[in-house]
Symmetry: C2
């Protein structure tokens, strides 16, 4: 039970309920890690019914994203993967480059902790493995989908950090549409193009036997 | 003057001198920012002659890199830009993907501070603008060199973080040579390929007048 949960509680006010659940989620994920944390445990810590957590935030993945104020949600990436204007690469690139970041918010705390505390790093890794990749990979539908999504995602994440967080002139000042035009072909190639036969990670490679390299 | 400098000082031991200078450099950069910090001020705080700082660490840029244990030094990138085996993209990509990172070292602290403290973020930005880009851009020699280097650098930085720091399976487990083969064409395109006429940031664009967008 967090201090915020006890103090701020006014039963019936949805905004308060949401805040209490988000506080409880951050505390539970930090204590238990992403994989072991359950909606039930988060609800218990927040002193609400689990159905209320689902009602407000959907899945555990979505709750993690909301609690840590991710600039880009897997749900938005999923929508971009499914269709819309322009190429797949254009849609995904534009999504990353127009994402918002709250100064001093929970996402900054998450990245900061992940840089220092091995448990926070493990929590972030589990979320990426079990939340993001398990959810997005089927939308790409190829055996190397996880590798492709990480290639594209790490590129866009680095670009986001350098343009929006660090704010280096020569990247910050470039027009959004021009930047999308430059980067989108790379993202298209990473997600759906010919990568020269890189095997899907975690699958045995021909001639090396299971797990061999 | 840092505690370490007073305690650890044994005149004449080069290892001690280096450590005292590195401590002084970190403290001076943090207090003054990258641009305003001088070798003279760093030497004064370390109670050594400025020539000794130059002797041990070269330029201010190189001292900043050494003090913050950057996984990749601009000097190494410069060497990769100048020549060697394979394409430019292959050399730079391999450099990033084989870089070392000391767990709990000064680089982690730097990234962590940059995520939280605006002055630390400004220090990092100044270093990238004045240290990295001013040094590397002439080696590419095009008007949009700064933009190109940031495109490539932010991609490789994101890849490094996701593979080495977060350590997500599908990226961590891919064979280095295969990853270089997949990523190098992107880096070649960003550094020297056709980007469809994106203007160099900071230069007035045709038809918009100075500073217009």
């Amino acid at each position: 039970m967090t201090a915020g949960a006890r103090r701020g509680r006014r039963p019936g006010d949805p905004a308060v309920t949401r805040r209490v659940i988000l506080n409880s989620a951050r505390a539970t994920f930090a204590a238990d890690g992403y994989e072991r944390a359950t909606i039930r445990a988060i609800a218990a810590r927040a002193e609400v019914d689990p159905s209320l957590v689902h009602h407000h935030f959907g899945t555990k993945e979505e709750l993690f994203v909301a609690a840590h104020e991710f600039p880009i949600s897997p749900a938005a990436v999923r929508a971009a993967l499914e269709g819309g204007e322009g190429t797949l690469g254009e849609r995904v690139t534009r999504l990353y480059l127009t994402a918002g970041l709250r100064e001093g918010g929970a996402f900054e705390s998450l990245v900061r902790s992940a840089m220092t505390h091995p448990p926070a790093r493990a929590m972030l890794r589990q979320f990426l493995e079990r939340g993001v990749l398990d959810t997005l990979a089927p939308h790409l539908g190829t055996p190397d989908a996880r590798f492709r999504i990480l290639l594209a995602g790490s590129h866009l994440m680095g670009l986001f950090m350098m343009r929006r967080v660090v704010g280096v002139d020569a990247l910050r000042d470039v027009d959004l549409n021009q930047l999308v035009a430059v980067v989108a072909p790379t993202i298209d190639r990473y997600l759906t193009g010919d990568l020269g036969g890189v095997p899907a990670a975690g699958q045995p490679r021909a001639g090396t036997g299971p797990g061999g390299r």
